[in-house]
């Protein structure tokens, strides 16, 4: 248990630093801002109590807000994402049961599960984030374009990190 807390804390700090100092300085055309830090919420263990899930997600978003001077939009979007996570895990079918000790990731639950799980949560997060950023539905097509493109890039990065750091063990 302590190990889990330590692991997640380290991941929190690492993702925050990478987001603020590396990704925020990468500018892919005018439309795409990748937000890799959502990976933190995606990888929190299944056993985490609801309050801890919400609060740690809020803290993650708030950290990004503090560094990029965006008020509270990341905090709001990340909290919403954490709130929807239990519903998504309940509805996304996996080839294995959610037994204790299982980690939300490709390694334990397979690629197809992870794509639906991460894809839908990232879409929730980015939709909330970009709508809060413009704070209006005017120019919705433009915002929509940003949401879709950035979601795709963020999702690609999340997958990449999954394959780099959590290699699929040869067991099936």
């Amino acid at each position: 248990m302590n190990n889990t807390i330590l692991n997640n804390s380290l991941r929190f700090i690492a993702l925050l630093l990478v987001q603020v100092f590396v990704l925020d300085n990468i500018h892919l055309s005018g439309y795409i801002n990748p937000y890799l830090y959502v990976l933190f919420v995606l990888l929190l263990p299944f056993e985490i109590p609801g309050w801890a899930l919400l609060i740690s997600a809020f803290a993650m978003g708030f950290g990004v807000d503090m560094f990029s001077g965006t008020g509270g939009i990341h905090a709001a979007a990340t909290t919403l994402m954490a709130f929807t996570r239990p519903f998504v895990t309940r509805f996304v079918a996996s080839r294995r049961e959610y037994e204790p000790g299982i980690q939300p990731g490709i390694a334990d639950l397979g690629l197809r599960w992870f794509i639906t799980y991460a894809g839908s949560l990232i879409l929730v997060h980015h939709t909330a984030l970009f709508l809060l950023e413009v704070f209006s539905f005017a120019g919705f097509y433009d915002t929509f374009q940003r949401i879709v493109l950035s979601s795709l890039v963020s999702f690609g990065m999340v997958l990449l990190v999954q394959y780099l750091f959590y290699p699929v063990r040869a067991k099936r």
Binding site: D24, G30, G71, A76, G139
Partner: protein, 275 residues
């Protein structure tokens, strides 16, 4: 009573979620509402210090460009000092002449963080209230307008970039003197639009647009951009003008904060509803 408690216990997940969202929203509105909170400036002095460390490293990569800009500006300024003028008539006044009273002074600052691909972009500069920076001061470079100071901590200040969806700056077309409103409603950090130029004005692509001097933030004549493209929508009285922004936001490193010495006096003239 039991039932209510039971119910609250059952929806506690949702309640916590709602509470956190409300907190986040308070931060959003605080920030957008131009209210400088103690929290924000305290935190910006902490994150500012970390960002400055990081920027010290990245700074080296842009030294060459920064040098070029500064050289160019030095050359221009050198050309305007009294020593480079010859007195050819009694009509020439020097700076020390009592006919001129200084209105603007400039504080040089370094950009330690900037974004340009959001809808609301901000910069952080390494000068703060200790250096006399105050909220609502203008920020420029040698190339043009950068933005407006938004909040200040002791050693740092955050600046609303020209590339912000809510920014409005009055811009004058240099050639004919007409004044419109500059807005950034485009996706790229190179493009913006100028509104409220009436249909009878004759426009040419390439016209320079500068600050009008009507605001208390910028002196008149600081470049905003160049007319790139314009057309008159059918049945409309006003042009739709696309500007090419003159400030290179992708490679910003040195800026100047504009101090308007006449600001207090002019503020006192303001009507009460402007407060």
């Amino acid at each position: 009573m039991r039932n209510i408690l039971d119910f609250l216990l059952r929806i506690r997940f949702f309640l916590l979620f709602a509470l956190l969202e409300v907190i986040a929203m308070i931060f959003v509105f605080r920030h957008n509402g131009y209210q400088q909170s103690v929290m924000l400036s305290a935190s910006s002095s902490f994150t500012g210090r970390i960002q400055e460390r990081f920027n010290n490293v990245v700074y080296y990569f842009s030294l060459r460009q920064a040098n070029d800009f500064l050289m160019e500006e030095n050359a221009r300024l050198r050309a305007s000092i009294p020593e480079s003028f010859v007195q050819n008539s009694r009509q020439v006044f020097f700076e020390s002449d009592t006919l001129y009273r200084q209105r603007y002074t400039y504080v040089p600052a370094r950009v330690i963080r900037s974004t340009f691909d959001r809808r609301s972009n901000y910069l952080v500069i390494d000068k703060g209230s200790k250096d006399g920076i105050e909220k609502d001061m203008g920020v420029i470079t040698s190339n043009g307008v950068v933005g407006i100071v938004h909040s200040v901590s002791a050693h740092y200040a955050s600046v609303i970039s020209l590339l912000h969806k809510d920014i409005r700056i009055s811009g004058r077309i240099l050639r004919n003197g007409y004044v419109g409103t500059f807005r950034w409603d485009k996706a790229l950090p190179e493009e913006a639009s100028l509104n409220e130029i009436p249909a009878h004005v004759d426009l040419v692509a390439g016209d320079t647009v500068v600050t009008s001097g009507y605001s208390l933030m910028f002196p008149a004549g600081i470049p905003l951009g160049m007319v790139q493209d314009f057309h008159l929508p059918e049945g409309d009285y006003f042009y739709e003008i696309t500007l090419r922004i003159s400030t290179p936001f992708r490679q910003l490193s040195h800026v100047y904060v504009v101090k308007d010495l006449a600001r207090e006096e002019l503020n006192r003239l303001n009507l009460p509803e402007n407060e």
